[in-house]
Symmetry: C2
């Protein structure tokens, strides 16, 4: 009888340092990009940690690698199972391949084509499911029962959270004296790791989560003081449709200064401007903190700001500023 | 009476070293990107010198800065004039602004919107012309007569060629033991500088120019041994529609091992694959050497290959894999 219950509660800063050592050689130390033009637009010095240039195209490989490489050998050999709307899936497939163990990946049948193809490219065994959390969880449970493998949740897992925190740990080593760190928030795994890493380096750093107004469970949870669920997932930011868990909400309440939201138009504008200015492909989910800066949702005047750019996996046939062909 | 005749014949390696020193602090030392997946596809180790991440979005700022900053003060104050189908225009505007002198830019009225906007962003004074070389030259001549300024040709200028060569000079410092260097060829300024820089570092390096089959003047000039002009400019690679000059043809005959051509479909496929694999935005012109590698036009098996990625200025409303809306 396997369980999908994660193995631990919350990681601490030492777990992030351990993860950073474990990941060495398995993930890229990604570049930090900046632009004088962008700094002029927002009146701050902004440093973008480019996890879109990470292996498998997103930060998710950090959490997946940390989880997969922390397993003992007999456990790892029974294989890895996960469900994911996208980037976590490719990341787990790559991590399992690198450890030479099987990966069974449950992916929503409406996930972007590029994300499904990258699971295949990394040798993951795909199970497509209906695009609901319940359907994905049921499919994963069946796989767990038949293989005896290990489930790695996309965000509700202390090993995954510690791995995601290594992006900020690296950024703060690459750029001195950061005052503010911004990351998008979905299930809260990245933002939890980001906040623990930032406060491990300096308790003076303020951390904000950035969220689409159309999937604003974290903002409402912060406002209400209780864990709220998304009532809409209609955002173009397809990586940000999950809701917080008890675990991540608990971490965020302790370490995050606030959650700000942006509109769909602001996301699309920010994504396009980033492409034009930086010549770097970012997916809609990463454009959310960029949009928050451009819209002045966070007070960053004159400060040094770090932003986690989360991923670059985009369906190039369905860019958000393209008019749908069917309307013509 | 001003002339558009360039000031010198051909630069040598020492001119490139001088240019590299002159450009220090004015241009980015751009990153070099590589991909295990891409290397596997072409059976070589390929290092992409990412001038799409350069200031103003292309390598052109190197030649423009070198030319503008080599002028004496009274000459510079009378202003800079150029005509260009695109990236050179923005580059000259930026170089003139950095030297605090006026720039008058003649741009074809069919140039991509993003390129025209970047001239404006850098404070260049725009004169739109019909999209023929004769119309652009006539407009530039009128500006020269009225201002007494200095004309900086997009490629037929020794100062510009030396500046463009600094990209390869940097690349060969960043990556050891390169065997082969590839660059696209249009008017031949970049390829001339590339070849002089490569052979200045090591005479053992082989250099190839890569050209769209639909604008193949350089390939035909090499085959015939005489300077040929483009008979078609119908290529999607809008930065590669110019023909060689006597000067650049002379340099290329001395330093370049061959010219290879690729089809439009190969360019579009290579551009899209590069976006998906590297998460870096490249314009169609830069996809030409990428396409040459993917199509096996250059023998690179097991060798270390440098590729100059020239620019990232793309009209995001008119990507080549999008079906035109008007056909629906």
């Amino acid at each position: 009888m396997m369980s999908t219950t994660p193995v631990a509660t919350a990681p601490d800063f030492a777990d992030i340092v351990t993860a950073a050592n474990r990941l060495s050689g398995h993930v890229h130390r990604t570049a930090v990009h900046a632009s004088r033009s962008f700094n002029g637009m927002v009146g701050a010095e902004v440093f973008f940690k480019c996890e879109n240039l990470q292996r498998a195209g997103s930060f998710k490989v950090r959490g997946a690698m940390n989880a997969v490489f922390s397993l003992d050998e007999p456990t790892a050999r029974r294989g890895i199972i996960t469900h994911s709307s996208g980037n976590h899936a490719a990341a787990v497939a790559l991590a399992a391949r690198e450890r030479c163990v099987p990966a069974h990946i449950v992916v929503s049948n409406n996930a972007p084509r590029a994300k499904i193809e990258s699971v295949r490219r990394y040798g993951g065994q795909l199970t497509l499911s209906e695009p609901t959390l319940a359907a994905r969880e049921e499919a994963a449970r069946r796989l767990l029962d038949s293989t005896g493998g290990t489930f790695i949740h996309p965000f509700d897992d202390a090993r995954v959270i510690a791995g995601q925190g290594t992006a900020t740990f690296e950024l703060l080593d690459q750029v001195a004296d950061i005052d503010v760190v911004l990351a998008p928030v979905s299930g809260g795994g990245l933002l939890s790791g980001t906040a623990i890493a930032a406060h491990g380096v300096s308790s003076a750093i303020t951390v904000y989560g950035c969220e689409p107004a159309l999937a604003d469970d974290a903002a409402r949870s912060f406002a209400m003081g209780t864990l709220e669920k998304n009532v809409s997932q209609a955002t173009i930011a397809d990586g940000l449709r999950a809701s917080l868990s008890e675990r991540t909400f608990g971490i965020l309440r302790q370490h995050v200064n606030g959650i700000v939201t942006v509109s769909e138009d602001e996301i699309i504008h920010a994504m396009r401007l980033f492409w034009e200015l930086f010549k770097l492909i970012i997916e809609p989910s990463c454009a959310v903190p960029v949009a928050a800066l451009l819209a002045g949702r966070v007070d960053v005047a004159g400060r040094r700001v770090g932003v986690i750019i989360t991923g670059g996996n985009v369906d190039l046939d369905a860019l958000p500023w393209q008019k749908p062909l069917s309307t013509h």
